[in-house]
């Protein structure tokens, strides 16, 4: 709102929400005309992630909440606490774009000849090793970050407690406005918020799974990370890097996705990777269009290489 006040012209009072948004956008643009802007795809992905998170949290708070009505109201009036959500939504959206790109460019596997195919159930008697178990837990934690149709989402277990609490309170406030005459249910809502906040701390998130996997791998981390890069298994790479840096998964994903190629070796230094192992990572990132690279513009791989980027 500060920007609106500074650029609104006399005679338009109060400004419509559309006009406010346009003026805010223009003010942002004038403040940094050379910076790349969000594409429609990035906007849509981030908005969808926010919507799925709100619906998920609302369902936990009170299954009777009409998530569609809630979201429609928030779309009209603005999503409360939007500034708290943007980092998470954008990081998840960018990670999703990256993974989708890799999935679509994967090499076609060699077909298995029907005669070679076995129809036995695999390894039912094989006990899982600790490493396999940790990897399985990481996969499960990662897949919790999708909805039923495979669209990207944020898992409640991955949110920091403050964000989760704030979101609960915002949704509860919306719900309270709906049921304001029903004091009994209002009290129930308050209880539900407190219970959910307490319970969230116990909900396993991808950070726990990443830390456990990193710890159990021990000196095998470089090899597993290199393998993850070669296989474009980006969740494992992000998880290992996040655990090594003691950063959140989302932060680490955003750091990788906004890094210039020259910055990758130092960013991934704790994983002790062979420089050549980084090549597929660099290639994959450069191919991702509309990245918010650290120099402020879109990645321009045809331009002169910054110092140290030649890979010699």
């Amino acid at each position: 709102m500060r920007m609106i006040e500074s650029v609104s012209s006399p005679g338009i009072d109060p400004p419509s929400s559309t006009l406010s948004a346009r003026l805010r956008e223009l003010a942002d643009y004038l403040a940094a005309p050379a910076a790349g802007r969000l594409t429609e795809e990035q906007r849509a992905l981030s908005l969808g992630i926010a919507r799925r998170l709100v619906a998920d949290v609302a369902a936990r708070l009170d299954p009777a909440i009409d998530a569609n009505a809630l979201w429609a109201d928030w779309l009209r009036g603005g999503v409360p606490g939007a500034e708290r959500l943007v980092d998470h939504c954008f990081a998840r959206a960018e990670e999703h774009r990256w993974r989708e790109q890799s999935a679509h460019r994967n090499v076609s596997p060699a077909p298995v000849h029907p005669d070679d195919a076995t129809t036995d159930a695999p390894g039912v008697d094989t006990a899982l090793s600790d490493v396999d178990r940790a990897y399985l837990a990481l996969q499960i934690a990662d897949r919790r970050r999708f909805d039923a149709l495979g669209n990207p989402a944020l898992a409640v277990g991955d949110l920091d407690a403050e964000l989760f609490r704030a979101l609960l309170i915002d949704i509860a406030a919306w719900r309270l406005a709906e049921i304001s005459r029903d004091t009994g249910r209002a009290a129930q809502l308050g209880d539900a918020v407190r219970a959910l906040v307490d319970r969230q701390a116990e909900e396993p998130g991808i950070a726990d799974a990443a830390n456990a996997y990193h710890a159990i791998l021990g000196d095998r981390v470089p090899q597993v990370a290199a393998d993850a890069i070669a296989r474009h298994n980006w969740p494992v790479l992000i998880a290992l890097a996040a655990a090594a840096h003691r950063r959140s998964y989302g932060d680490m994903a955003l750091s990788l996705l906004t890094a210039q190629a020259a910055a990758l070796p130092s960013l991934l230094a704790p994983l002790q990777l062979d420089p050549m192992a980084l090549a597929p990572l660099e290639a994959s990132l450069v191919m991702l269009p509309s990245r918010a690279v650290a120099d402020g513009g879109d990645d321009d791989h045809d331009g002169p290489a910054p110092s140290g980027q030649d890979g010699r």
Binding site: H104, N106, V107, P114, D116, T119, A230, N233
Partner: protein, 460 residues
Amino acid sequence: MNERIIRGRIDRSGVLVSADTPLLRLQQRAGSGLGKPLALPHLARLVALAQRLHRDISRPMYTADDHSNIHALVRIAPDADGASLEISDWRTGPTIHPQIPVIADSALTRQGWTWECDQQLRVVALRAASDAPSVPAGWEGRSLSELFELQPDEDGRFPVLRALGRQSRFDGQRVQADGPAGRIAMTLTGEPQFDAAGVFVGFRGSAELAEPQAQAQAAPLPGAVLTDPAFGSLPLSDPQFGRRIDGALRGPLSRIIATAETISGQFDGPIRADYARYAGDIAHAGRHLLGLVDDLADLQNIERPGFKAAADEIDLGDLARRAVGLLGMKAEEKGIRIDAPRVDDKMPATGEFRRVLQVLLNLLGNAIRYSPENSQIWIRVDRADDRAMITVADQGQGIDADQQAVVFEKFERLGRTDSGGSGLGLYIARRLARAMEGDLTVESAPGQGARFTLSLPARD
């Protein structure tokens, strides 16, 4: 990663003067060739950049022909006569339109679930659509075939297992799963997933609720009276049923038992004593179910029309000693002494060796199970006219006349509710005895123990 290096050479005017086959083929597909200007725009720009900078550069390279995307790493070394190219990590992939949803909206109705598993069929994701029954708790990491009880198709095959072998898509896999209000019939569809190295990493797909008639089969109406409470819905007349039961039940059960025993044995370190005890209970229950699977397979076999046992020349004394050898440890655990026929006690008879041993193991196992600790069991062989007989007698609580009339019925456990047996053993044993032209009878009285006698045609 492809470690092969593909080389090429560009002259000062940007003409490709030499190239290894993949690079040359790409140049040709782009409508050019050797001795002609480089027709790959991205690579040409990189060459121009290296020449302008007068230094080596290494960059990712992206290009495409009419049916595949290609990306690789190129190292360009400019010199006075042009530039040398070294291309590594050459990857090709089919051209796919981006932003295809992971699971197409049309593939999943609002009543379905979506799932994903790894290459070992361990489930890593399971979600319900908006109007679908909720997914069972504790699905994480379980086997797909454990979570969804696989049903064979009309040809007796399991589409998911066939697809696993071929790493291909599948549909129409009929399954039953645990819903919130009982078993539900569903149909699985799955797509194979591969990583960037082309390695199969699992399946991703949906599970849709089956038609109402399939639901009725999956979950019989409460109170509905079936002629046979256990077998009314089982395809006992199907000769492949016994074989299928192995794959569908024995594997998962074996894993449950092995895992529970691992926990119970605290192989991975100490755990709370009550948890270890629970795990022991799970293993025990698993073994019980495995025994039931064996019995069901047996039952299916012996109830088949025309079932016949082999007529081996056997010695009941020898078979009795073998049975004691197999179950002696179990008896010792309860301090039970078994008085078996001596080595020179022979009783020649005619019957199928393994089936007679199976009957004796059942009789002796029951005697051990229902005998008090530190008691005694006798096994005697005898002959009456043309019948060779072997009797197993115990000091258990005995069976009254009413119970004796039903003890050979299917699933009759005489009111016992422990997990000791399936209630099929004696039924199967008598069926086997009669299939060998013999019989199995019981004499007992409350408090007097029980005497089970197997009689078979005697042999001189």
